[in-house]
């Protein structure tokens, strides 16, 4: 696997990176952990005449608490997230998700920002990012701006990031409130490890045990990750018995532009979305109730 020739820059300041992204002819691409881009370049499926490696920009890496949220720098690796006590305590859903990404090598190199900006339809993170209502911060020559998760993914391998813009951090509202549980379940592609279907579910119970709020993100099944609005509204205010969860989960694939490949057809993906949604909700409810795995 021999990539075509390319130029490589590794700036240590964000301003330099943004400058490099402006000032080049040909195809410029941002390199973060390289777990998606480099294989594509080796297969000559992605062409980049210039790579701007943002891995040495210190301000883009790290995890910090910010009031009711956790802010994670774009080049923070999955390994960093798994090792973070803060994330484990405040956004356990992210840990649940990240530990199911790739393998140890991928988790050691891959970054949260690289994965989100790449927006692979089989990526795990988008389901979780959508379910928690995260906010992305992007920097460009015109300054910085914030993008809601719902507005971030615009299609297969595409996001609302502009040319020359770099995703700098992700802000995840904390999930450590009372009577709140979450779970990420996936059907893993046996070869690639990507999510054939991945479902992130968050359930918040009212004091009487009924559903105060449910948020569900579905990835893998469709050309882009989406919130499962039909599922969420079917749970609102309901007592969460098995029949209610199953009924709500039957809406999981609604509105999805289901993908099909030799491993899993659109029909099977739609079916898996329902099964995994039911199971993810059941796990989230159990955790919200303080049961096993809470």
């Amino acid at each position: 696997m021999y990539p075509a020739e390319f130029d490589y820059h590794a700036p240590t300041a964000l301003a330099d990176a943004l400058h490099l992204l402006q000032g080049h002819d040909g195809t410029v691409k941002v390199l973060a952990g390289g777990q998606s881009l480099l294989p594509l370049m080796k297969l000559r499926l992605a062409d980049a005449s210039t790579l701007v490696d943002i891995g040495r920009i210190a301000e883009l890496r790290g995890i910090r608490e910010d009031g009711d949220a956790v802010v994670i720098g774009a080049t923070t690796t999955y390994r960093d997230i798994l090792d973070s006590a803060v994330v484990g305590r405040r956004v356990p859903l992210l840990v649940d998700t990240v530990r199911q990404i790739g393998d140890m090598q991928v988790r050691s190199r891959g970054t949260i920002g690289g994965s989100l900006a790449h927006a692979d339809p089989g990526g795990d993170l988008p389901a979780t990012i959508l379910a928690v209502d995260a906010q992305m911060t992007a920097a460009g020559s015109g300054g910085t701006r914030t993008i809601a998760a719902r507005d971030f993914f615009t299609g297969m391998l595409t996001t609302s990031l502009n040319e020359g813009e770099v995703l700098t951090s992700v802000r995840l509202p904390a999930l450590d409130q009372a009577r709140t549980g979450s779970a990420y379940l996936k059907h893993r592609h046996p070869a690639s490890g990507y999510a054939v279907v991945g479902v992130a579910a968050i359930v918040r119970l009212a004091a009487d045990g009924t559903c105060q709020e449910a948020r569900v993100g579905v990835t893998g099944a469709g050309s882009q990750a989406m919130r499962a609005g039909g599922v969420e509204s079917a749970l609102q205010g309901k007592a969460l018995d098995d029949a209610t969860l199953a009924d709500a989960a039957s809406h999981a694939a609604e509105g999805l532009d289901l993908l099909s490949d030799p491993y899993a057809s659109a029909e099977f993906r739609g079916h898996l979305a329902q099964v995994l949604t039911r199971r993810a909700l059941a796990a989230a409810v159990a955790r919200a109730r303080g049961g096993p795995g809470a």
Binding site: Y2, A4, E5, L43, P190, A191, D242, F268, H271
Partner: protein
Amino acid sequence: MAVTRLFGSSVKRREDPRLITGRAMYTDDVKLPGMAYMAILRSPYAHARITRLDTSRASKQPGVLAVYTGKDIDGKLNPMPCAWLPKDSDLKVPPYRALALDTVRFTGDGVAAVVATSAYIAHDALDLIDVDYEQLPVVTEQTAAVAAGAPQLHEDAPGNQAMHWRLGGGDVDSAFRDAEVVVRQRIVQQRLVPNAMETRGTVAQWDPGMGELTMYNTSQNPHIARFISSVVTGIPENKIRVIARDVGGGFGSKIPVYPGDMLTAFAARELDRPVKWVETRRENFVATIHGRDHVQEVELAARKDGTVTGLRVKAWANLGAYLSMAAPGVPTWLFGTMVTGCYTIPNFAVDVFGVFTNTTPVDAYRGAGRPEAAFLIERMMDLLAVELKMDPVDLRRKNFISKDAFPYTAASTLQYDSGDYDMTLDKALEAVDYKALRREQEEGRKQGRYLGIGLSTYVEVCGLGPSAAAGAMGFQGGLWEPATVRVLATGKALVYTGTNPHGQGEETTFAQIVGEELGLPIEDIEVIHGDTAQISMGWGTYGSRTTAVGGSAIILAARKVRDKASKLAAHLLEAAPEDIVFDQGRFSVKGSPARAKTIQDIALMANVAWDMPEGMAPGLEESHFYDPVNFTFPFGAHICVVDVDADTGEVHIRRYVAVDDCGLVINPMIVDGQVHGGVAQGIGQALYEGAIYDEGGQLITGSMMDYTVPNSTQIPTIETIRTETPSPVNPLGLKGVGETGTIASTEAVVNAVADALAPFGIHHLEMPMTPERVWRTIEDAKRQSGTTPATPGR
């Protein structure tokens, strides 16, 4: 060394430190002064005529040394030969050129080769070769290829039929006429991609002064590679040296010599500088042989009491676009002879049609023909058990060849050497507590839990094999092995084998054999393999033959060394030769143990030769050329226990028990390792692997992202149990274990899943049993029956 007996001891693999610390010498590790790099332009189409091929832009690229096309090599490189020509099979051998002359016949067929000063320049230059293709109709599936009106691949193979081969015994027509029960099944053995961890490659060096070619090559059988290279290049066999020291797995895919190897040799001679070519992984997927790929129609005849009376098989073997080197032998002799398995089936008939298609050539893949046979008969036995409402255990026992019947001549005329099939089955049943599992299964089914128990009681033929049998089968070579054992003056020994271990661990097991026989510490023994300049001859490593054949040659050579050493000891100790006692490296005089010489003493005296007995030649070195008198027949029982998630179609393997009898065992740990690897590949076929072509002949499972080679997290703990029934056909009682895992395991897994889903009326599933396939099979069955068995509470 403290181990008093090396034979039977789990000595740690001596080759592993270098293999796992990056100090091995694989072909890609070879770097020679002035070395250039070759890359091959491969056809993006499965079937097309080349209407224009312009290499001028690539040739002008700085760093590009040469660009070769089919026309450039025409008349200079002979077509790749086929080396297995089954007699009476009407075999057609169309020319298989290293680069296509005018027509490409599979995606990956060679079109041109670029040699450059770096691998990057060579690969960049491929994009600068201008080719116009006129696309031709494509056929990739064998039953479609033999149908009327199918696209034709080769003029001299009408109907795309490469061969029709038959084998039979008894009177199968009468058996079916008189049958009380007949079960029928269409079985598809899907196409697999071998995926050795090391892709293939060659470094070729031409010595113009000597007129000699040296090829570092990823070969399982360097002497065969030398022979074939001579045929293709025209360079005399004694002017070619093939070196294959460390080879990173093969599974059969490194038996053949390939076009890329020959192009590398050609370029090295043309350019008079060393040339390296190493496949990329993508290239390996399309340019290295694939395995299996059968469609079979199978019928089994029986009496109502379960006695099997006849077996009829029609098989269409997809051979790909050209005949790979051993391809015709795999679906014929290595398959057809073993379809009756471990059962007394007196009447059988096998018809095999070899078929050309627009796909990568198919050849031997671990087990090569025997997994296809074992799967077939073990699957049919389960289907018969369902039909007769018998326990599959009882049905098997009723038809086993009894342990008193050995040596047993099967209807195929093969003579099974030794066996005790009830014994291995008993051990497997006991290990899983079969009766308790059946009770649990019954209980679980009421609650919508689907537990399945799959049996495979297998026998295989290996230890290939008597050279006379090779000739009779049309194999264009021998299957004997030479060995030389040389003890140097310092007491250190060199052992030369013509086999070529490439991960199996014989650098350890062969040293154990010699250490045991001569009383030498294992550290003092070097096993030399993989170099035609150092080793006189050899037929290589495949067919689970390395230890059974190569090891037998070594022990017989070692015994000659010991005999000579014993005679020299008698002379030096002034004793009668018959009075010398040998024990753990000491030759002593019977009755006076203090009068003794060590093997090291004798080695020194033999090598300096100051005081040799009358008529004894100097030196301490002996060779043996061993040709086995028969094949060997390892056997065993595997049981797979699965839980099937009927909602998602996921199969979870709860237990995997492998009881294997591969004759006497030299190193139990290495035997376990061979079983583990083979079972992993067999589970891979059952659940994960499968090469898929689209209608245009593109391999859409052409990368590790799409083609699932299972990793350790996808393989359960494999519980290994051994019995040791010696083979009477060789001096050590060895049978061979390299292929048992793939031969035994795939059907155990499929039988388990079919057993789990029996409540749905499901009795057969195609492979790989992916979640979607299992789920769909269940959904289809539900729709057909209109009933739904119990499902788990939601």
